[in-house]
Symmetry: none
Subunit: 417 residues, 2 copies
């Protein structure tokens, strides 16, 4: 079953408002195995709405329209749907009675304009709205289903839960959507694609198919696997096997298959290994320790963080030998290693991290351009170091450096496990 959602209302076309009903609708429809293929937002304009609705009717089995069911003259959804489907409006005695009861219960008479809300396209079923004056409408039309819902979420949701979903589930026959997400660090998007595409492309032709999508964020790539199936345990088993196959070709670069963030994964590894961590940062300016402490309970393993922006701070607080800075420069693997070891020794932690680099926009040089970052991780007897060259603006360099540093700790902790 393929679905399109149309949100109606000029306020949804302003720079400060989004159609959030469609997120809720997508979530609930996906659970029934109904995929949303297109979403549209249209203003209070009859010609635009008629065009968008007609196009959806040509493509979809289920069209859900939200909003534009109010009593005022700019509410046009009922009228437009009636006209496009060729089903003339007629007044519903059931709705008039419900409206009159609603106003009477508040000691008010029904304003004349509300009578418009009792108009119903021929053949429509009225879906009672306990929280407002605009009822929902369900229209079976030439092997398609058209559903009209009021825009306010507290009116829309009860109608969906009590009427729309139960009726749709009788039409779909138990199929549901299942998903799995792999999060990857240390490998750029195109290099993830290069090794995974030969693996996942064949799943698209199996029955039922697994659909794979790649998404990139600073310092992180995500692979989303989605399938629609009736048999839930078989679906979960196939997705788990698919995730394993991708993990194999991505070697150690997959850090999460259960939704956890990188800082949560590192936190769990630290907890398992019974190690605490101390962080010495320069160019990331506190972002690494701020991410680590975003995790509830991180006070159990984050001992301290030092942001040593100046060379004096690096020497005084982290015991970085001045001759290292003089010889190799503040941005060097030698200094990163000294920072990681210095903070670890002072803090008496199991893990020490050192990050030094040039976030930009100033401070670059031909040998060390903006984006150059040296990272060191000290665990056990060994301090490992790496130098990166990250592209992008100051905040991009900070984000990528923080992710890379957390990822290096993850790899070291896995290696000693």
């Amino acid at each position: 079953m393929r679905c399109e959602i149309i949100a109606v209302g000029s306020e949804l076309l302003t720079p400060s408002r989004l159609d959030t009903n469609s997120l809720y609708l997508t979530d609930r429809l996906n659970e029934l195995g109904i995929a949303v293929r297109v979403k549209a937002v249209v203003g209070d304009d009859q010609a635009d709405l008629a065009a968008v609705f007609s196009a959806a009717l040509d493509r979809a089995d289920l069209i859900v329209l939200t909003g534009g069911l109010g009593p005022t003259s700019d509410d046009l959804t009922r009228e437009t749907v009636s006209q496009v489907l060729g089903r003339p409006l007629a007044e519903s005695a059931q709705i008039v009675a419900a409206l009159e009861r609603r106003f009477a219960a508040r000691g008010l008479r029904m304003p004349a304009i509300n009578r418009k809300q009792a108009l119903v396209p021929g053949g429509a079923r009225v879906l009672d709205n306990p929280n407002g004056t605009a009822p929902g409408l369900w229209i079976d039309h030439e092997h398609r289903v058209v559903v009209l819902l009021p825009g306010p979420p507290r009116e829309l949701k009860p109608i969906v839960e009590t009427f729309v979903l139960p009726t749709l589930s009788t039409l779909t026959g138990g199929a549901r959507l299942y998903r799995k997400m792999l999060k990857i660090a240390g490998r750029p998007e195109s290099m993830v694609e290069e090794v995974t595409e030969p693996v996942y492309s064949k799943w698209a032709d199996e029955s039922p198919p697994i659909v794979t999508t790649i998404l990139a964020a600073p310092g992180q790539v995500e692979l989303h696997l989605v399938m629609v199936a009736v048999d839930g345990s078989a679906a979960e088993a196939r997705l788990t096997a698919a995730a394993s196959a991708l993990e194999t070709v991505l070697e150690g670069d997959v850090f999460s298959t259960d939704g956890r963030t990188l800082e949560e994964v590192v936190g769990d590894l630290l907890r398992e290994s019974r190690l605490s961590v101390a962080v010495a940062e320069s160019c990331t300016g506190g972002l690494v320790v701020s991410k680590l402490t975003d995790v509830p309970g991180s006070s159990n393993y984050v001992e301290r963080g030092i942001v040593a922006y100046s060379n004096r701070a690096k020497v005084e607080m982290l015991d970085v030998p001045e001759h290292l800075i003089a010889t190799y420069g503040a941005v060097s693997e030698s200094v990163a290693a000294a920072m990681a070891e210095g903070v670890r020794t002072r803090a008496k932690t199991g893990v020490g991290m050192g990050i030094t680099g040039i976030a930009g926009p100033g401070g670059g040089s031909p040998e060390k351009p903006v984006g150059t970052v040296a990272i060191a991780v000290s665990v056990g007897e060994e301090t490992s170091t790496r130098t990166f060259r990250f592209p992008g603006s100051r905040d991009m360099v900070k984000s990528q450096a923080a992710q890379a540093a957390l990822d290096l700790v993850r790899r070291r902790l896995l290696a000693i496990r």
Copy 2:
């Protein structure tokens, strides 16, 4: 000029993702008097995208497509637009060269799949993308304009600002939108409304009207003033006078009328006062120093940051007397003051900041519930302290505490100026 926006990407049809690029695009297009009439979201499906794009082409003068320009096989925007417009794709030597330079700069070879990003529909102009591999494309087609933009906001926005808007403004002419924004700290939204509404409400009836909107973010309230006018200098003069009137009733709580963030304002005040700063944080976990160092050039005044999560770290690194922690607790104004003075003394800076609190979800008690945060600022001879009780989740408490700490520094620096 009527515009439609089409966002491409299956991830935008999941229950957890929204197309937010269209808000930014609407905002900037509205400023040129261009109305957005329809917005659509389409998955990575060539047939769906072709249908939605063709329909938009029938109705609109300007069609902006975002996303689907990546190197992977599910990126189909270029191919689909080429096919619908009947403009075959050809490889652009300019783009191939730029891609190769981009990868070479990071010491990487260009993966073969990236070559796809150099394909361009016939007659398209290439819009350089300094922050990514996918260039934008501008196509003049039968009295219509079709613009293709990469999906990531940090890639899309620079292309819009430097190329798309200037070119569109030559096509539109006439009235423009003018705005002014006041940023406010230390006063909740409802109390901002209480004192400003009597001032700004009358501007809505003037000609042309000034429209005022209030927006709240953690630790910050914004007042947006907007007017549409042909005469730019008259508009700017009215908005400046309006901003002054609001600043008067908001007393010292307006920290910015020129778009600067709180950390930029604090940075500028530190620079003017020729003072450096050192930060000692507990519950904010590095967020304060990370915000301060988000500002380019902050290495000139940020000397160091200490994240002292454990009591031992507070004693060892900040010289907080153990008896203070024993007597008043780690979350207390006495300890915050000792942290601010300790970090300032060790770092030999003009300003010291101390932040200690309970970010949650655990660690609260009846006298000191989750959200309790003590903040101290040490400048000159005086250390001032304040205790806050912030509502919300762990990250909300961290954000509000960081804003409050920066705002206290701002007020102290203004007072000694």
